[in-house]
Amino acid sequence: MLEIKDLHVSVGDHEILRGVDLKVGRGEVHAIMGPNGSGKSTLAQVLAGRDVYTVTSGEVIFEGKDLLVMAPEDRAREGIFLAFQYPVEIPGVSNLYFLRSALNTIRKARGLEEIDAMDFLKLARDKMKLLDMDENLMQRPVNEGFSGGEKKRNEIFQMAILEPRLAILDETDSGLDIDALKIVANGVNALRSPERAIVVVTHYQRLLNYIVPDVVHVLYDGRIVRSGDKRLALELEEKGYGWLEDDRQLSAAGR
């Protein structure tokens, strides 16, 4: 479904991703872990099409198409969804209006009929229940005045409505208490399907207790330095990221 080959990304003169390779297959859940500044969020944002980053080399193929030449909206229409680490507040635009516009643009791109206001409201109510969200949030401006937890839930709620083919969750767990974490994880798990892939970007192993990954990758200093099954996440949790540093120095010394 997604194939990243030797991806190099910079901001200004600073290279952040230094040759990332990653393959994600349909129905799989991948976790990308790594310390602060390792490039996790950059990778997530580059996949969604954020233009403050410059791709200097490499390629990203999504369902056989070159993702990097697409505008962010086209990527979304192709089925990519990024749950933001810091969801943006948009005063004056109601959640309901925003999300219905988004859904209808995506449906149109997929050759489906637009959904009318009544049907949308019904759909939204169902999905909100899933995430235990206050219905009033729908009428409020997008993310404005939402608590940290509400913002994160709102991201997963959007994902549930838009039904992407590839969902990228950028530190969705940060700032959530255990109860909220469980709710969010339930929401994500409800979307797991053989047709859909999920990439979970996280600093901590905690979320992976609830969203169990098929593959865990460790991103360090702009490269994926290790991949394994879910046990890798536990190992990291136990030994800390410093372990990778020692490991890398060892391998560098041995070269």
């Binding site: 099409g49 954020r50 979304a76 943006v88 948009i90 004056g92 635009v93 988004a102 643009t105 959007q158």
Partner: protein
């Protein structure tokens, strides 16, 4: 200054012609007002950018230009004038003015409750000028405002809204001013519409004053509205300026508020090539409150200058002011918000905010708060922001599948809706939202070329008999 003065003569000629036409039919007090106003206009001359109040707005294009007086009659009164507007606002008490003249055939007065009269100023001047005497030209400071002086000297028509005591007027009063093309190749006209709104003690009214191009080009509207709001009375007043893209629009709105009155003054400017709005309110009774809101959305080479004055003359009054601007192309905006707190106006509570969204690198906004405080127990705050569209917000919307243009439009509309959403008339709200959308879509088209601004529904062109 001499060049500017030279063009004043045409207005003296207009005045002489008007005097002759009225030939002593007007009462003495009114003749005296007109006379002192034209003299004052002569002394003041058109302001220049050396005048602090006009520093960022040059009215030279108006001062240099030849304008004819408004045509004597609008005839035949064409039923197509403002047809769609009249349909939308049929539920209101609607007065329609075409090229400065009240056109009775187009009005829908509807039933007004006892104690309420809505007439054309011309009718009131002709039949009962004494009803105007207590208020007309008593509030607007024409001794220091050349355009208001000119209007006062040359005013002939407009609306006279009288709401008596303790009446809650349910129907909004809608004053529609249409500018239609003039016949033949005559110079464009200068119009001086004059409105007087009197809301009696304990009453409530909603008034809209809407200037709309109906195909006219290059004309000059010089409007003055005075509103007098009594004790415990409420007025919701909206002024909408959607003149033709090459028209000039200069307006003064002067509000006078008594004890515990509550007034909302809303000024929406979308059209014209050169627009100045002087919006002033005097809180002249304890406990009065005032809400001033403004929205200007301009592009191309449009220039809009909002000068507001909130005069806290008595204690325990509050004022809230929010003006928002969206500027694209090489447009130019000015906001000057003056707040005066008079000696003794203790416990004044005043908040002012001006927010601007610049969509292009060549758009310019000059924004300035101006506080004059002569009392010591007051709360006054002000703030101004100038910003571009938030790229993070644009990206967020796009990441959900919404296209770039749509995302931008959504954010701009959200910014503007802060003001538009509070307009109490749904059809007007919808119209303005649509006008805004159309205007954004038309971005890049040059304004001031005779093309009417987008969103305007140009209803008709008619020849005059």
């Amino acid at each position: 200054m001499t060049a500017v003065k030279g063009q004043q003569d045409q207005y003296f000629a207009h005045f002489a012609a008007l005097e002759e036409r009225l030939s002593g039919t007007e009462p003495e007090w009114l003749r005296a007002v007109r006379k002192s106003a034209i003299e004052r206009f002569g002394d003041l001359g058109f302001p220049t950018t050396r005048d602090e109040e006009w520093r960022f707005t040059s009215v030279a294009p108006i001062a240099r230009r030849a304008f004819r007086p408004p045509p004597e009659r609008v005839s035949p009164a064409d039923a197509r004038f403002g047809q769609s507007e009249r349909a939308d606002f049929a539920h209101c008490t609607l007065l329609v003015f075409v090229n400065g003249r009240y056109v009775e055939e187009l009005a829908s007065p509807n039933g007004l409750p006892a104690g309420v009269r809505v007439r054309s100023l011309r009718a009131a001047l002709a039949s009962e000028p004494e009803t105007l005497e207590p208020h007309l030209a008593r509030y607007v400071p024409f001794e220091r405002n050349a355009f208001a002086a000119l209007n006062t000297a040359l005013m002939e028509d407009g609306a006279f809204v009288e709401v008596g005591k303790d009446v809650a007027l349910e129907r909004p009063i809608y004053l529609l001013f249409l500018a239609a093309p003039l016949p033949g190749k005559s110079a464009p006209a200068a119009y001086h519409p004059r409105n007087l709104i009197v809301v009696g003690r304990g009453s409530q009214a909603t008034v809209v004053e809407h200037y709309l191009s109906a195909g006219g080009a290059g004309y000059f509207t010089n409007a003055v509205t005075e509103a007098v709001v009594g004790d415990n009375a409420r007025l919701d007043y909206t002024k909408v300026q959607q003149e033709s893209g090459d028209a000039y629009h200069i307006a003064t709105v002067q509000v006078h508020q008594a004890r515990f009155s509550s007034v909302t003054t809303r000024v929406v400017a979308l059209g014209g090539v050169l627009n100045r709005e002087d919006t002033c309110t005097v809180l002249d009774g304890e406990g009065a409150e005032s809400l001033l809101q403004g929205l200007y959305v301009i592009h191309g080479r449009q220039h809009v200058d909002n000068h507001t004055t909130i005069d806290h003359a008595q204690p325990h009054c509050s004022s809230r002011e929010l003006y928002k601007g969206v500027l694209d192309g090489a447009s130019n905006g000015v906001f000057n918000g003056k707040i005066i707190v008079r000696r003794g106006a203790q416990k004044t509570d005043s908040k002012q905010s001006n927010k601007n969204l610049l969509l292009s690198e060549s758009a310019v906004i000059n924004t300035k708060p101006q506080l004059e405080i002569y009392a010591d127990d007051v709360k006054c705050t002000h703030g101004a922001t100038i910003g571009q569209m938030d790229p993070e917000a644009v990206f967020y919307l796009r990441s959900r599948g919404i296209g770039l243009e749509e995302a931008r439009a959504m954010l701009i509309e959200a910014f503007a809706n802060d003001i538009l959403d509070r307009i109490p008339l749904a059809p007007l709200r919808t119209r303005l939202q649509r006008a805004l959308t159309d205007k954004l879509a038309a971005k890049g088209q040059p304004a001031g070329t005779g093309a009417s601004p987008a969103g305007e529904r140009v209803s008709v062109l008619v020849e005059e008999a």
